[in-house]
Symmetry: C2
Subunit: 194 residues, 2 copies
Amino acid sequence: MEQHAMIAEEALLINGLDVTAARNTIAAIQADKSLARFQFRARNTWISGGENRSTIRDFYGVGREDDSRTMTFEFTNGEPAVLLGDNEGANPVEFLLHALAGCVTTTFVLHAMARGIHIRDLSTELAGDIDLQGLLGIDESVPPGYEQIRIRMHVEADCSEKDLEDLMTYAQQHSPVCNTVCRPVPVVIERAKG
Amino acid sequence: MEQHAMIAEEALLINGLDVTAARNTIAAIQADKSLARFQFRARNTWISGGENRSTIRDFYGVGREDDSRTMTFEFTNGEPAVLLGDNEGANPVEFLLHALAGCVTTTFVLHAMARGIHIRDLSTELAGDIDLQGLLGIDESVPPGYEQIRIRMHVEADCSEKDLEDLMTYAQQHSPVCNTVCRPVPVVIERAKG
């Protein structure tokens, strides 16, 4: 009996994701689309020069404020010497690459699970080109952001090459960070009162 | 003599940034615009489910490969329970907010220095709204990324309110991460060979 229970439990995990929980979440959202509305947050404090630190903990989703986190995440932005810093941390444009890598990966793994595809190995290398004349205001015709970001994906899975290509395209189209980068997303900055 | 030297050295720092180094960098780029071309990089490895880890170290800029970093930065993406994870780390869309907060802050501080404005205090709160029907492929008309990101900035500095407003607008327009989010930036994904 115990052995059967273990086999049944293992069968519900694909790529480390709980298939039943995923199905339940999707069914719940289909029944009440407002459950899909999330708000993520970060608070950041400037330290000195190019050094600043964010704390991340609370968010809203599935119709309520989350209370699952027992600790606050902290991340420090810094800059290398050539950008007037002391390598206090990775810099913001590097953190953007980390966010993009993780999001494309998780979206890929999630939809692989939905298709019953088992992934053995998945890694990415990202490179983004940027011309700092934009940031520095030297040439106003140069966009300050990335010109382009390239992702090289290494993946091994129990499916055909065509299935992998389809999944890669689908992950690119459905990744929240990738979509935030590819599509113009409004950023509104306002002064805090008082 | 020693006291004078110390005073002179302190006078060259505004907001923790070395004014002379900044001027020299800008002069060097104006003389040779290719020095402003940077390439930032990240490598990411999937662990399981929504957990994956990036390493960040090398980059290209100012005409050469950087060798200033004595350690590799590592960051772990995770997901909360409602997104099928175990809070192994902040999630990718939260890391994006950290990147955006840091970039707007550093751009603000940098251009404050260029204008001779001394900042006493600077912090931000970010909130981004997202409808996960996009990620989950439940409704293809819903964009998977952020709908909008709002930044509330608290700032104290030795300048007028109008100067602060001007600086806030300038920072928004010249921040590389903010510009990458606001403007459509192409992301190219390709399979690694072999």
